[in-house]
Amino acid sequence: MDIYGVVVMSVFAILAAVGMIGTYLSSQIIRILIKHRKDNAPLTAFLLNPESSKHEIKWFLFPAVTVLLTGVFTLAQKLLGPISFTNPLIAGTFLLAYIFGILTAILVVYVVYRWYKKMKRFA
């Protein structure tokens, strides 16, 4: 296995680990919400603290921006042609698409962690 294979494998492994954390956190959120289906206690807590809720919603802006940049650089790289690391333009767009994709995954999981922290006391 060459150096390219090692890099690709480590990126895949990082994303799989991030996905495991995100799966745990989002399944906990769903469990809490369904448990309080009758009284909607977690949502009442959101309703009573509008300022902090607005702050939590504002955090979703960062994944929304990085996901757009991921799409833009992915499309640019696919339109420019097959991957070649000698061409700096193609290599740059390829790497930026990778970086923004990983950043999106990490940011989404971080925001979900913030929501989970607010709902944890109802578990």
């Binding site: 799989a16 799966t23 769903i30 909607n40 009442t44 959101f46 499309l75 994709g101």
Partner: protein
Amino acid sequence: MMSFDLIYGITTSIFNFITFIFFIVFWMKLKKMDINVFLARIFLKADRFIAAFFALWIAEISLTIGYIVATLMAIWNPYTLIWEYTNISVFFFLMVFFILFTGLYPRRRHKMNGGTPVQPQPSQSVQTGEKQQ
């Protein structure tokens, strides 16, 4: 016949663009309207909120499974393209999450206008019981 690479690039960029547009429109509305309107809405429509997080859960599940498979396949062949199928699924369900979370689609009967009461239009013929000239 287009290659799968190009189809993947176009599809994911469309999904990501829709995600961004929905959140930006939502954010611009949120700055204008009262935050309590949005919070009361997610309180009243808790099903939509749960469905949004369910879509996020599916996205995370597909991210996990897809990249575990991709990691294992990269041992033998680092040029595997299975992660592209994973990304299409992940970005699609992320888009569904953002659409359901922002609540901009499907549209509701009442607009988010910050609690300003809508002036009722009197229907003349029914109230007065006679024809309007």
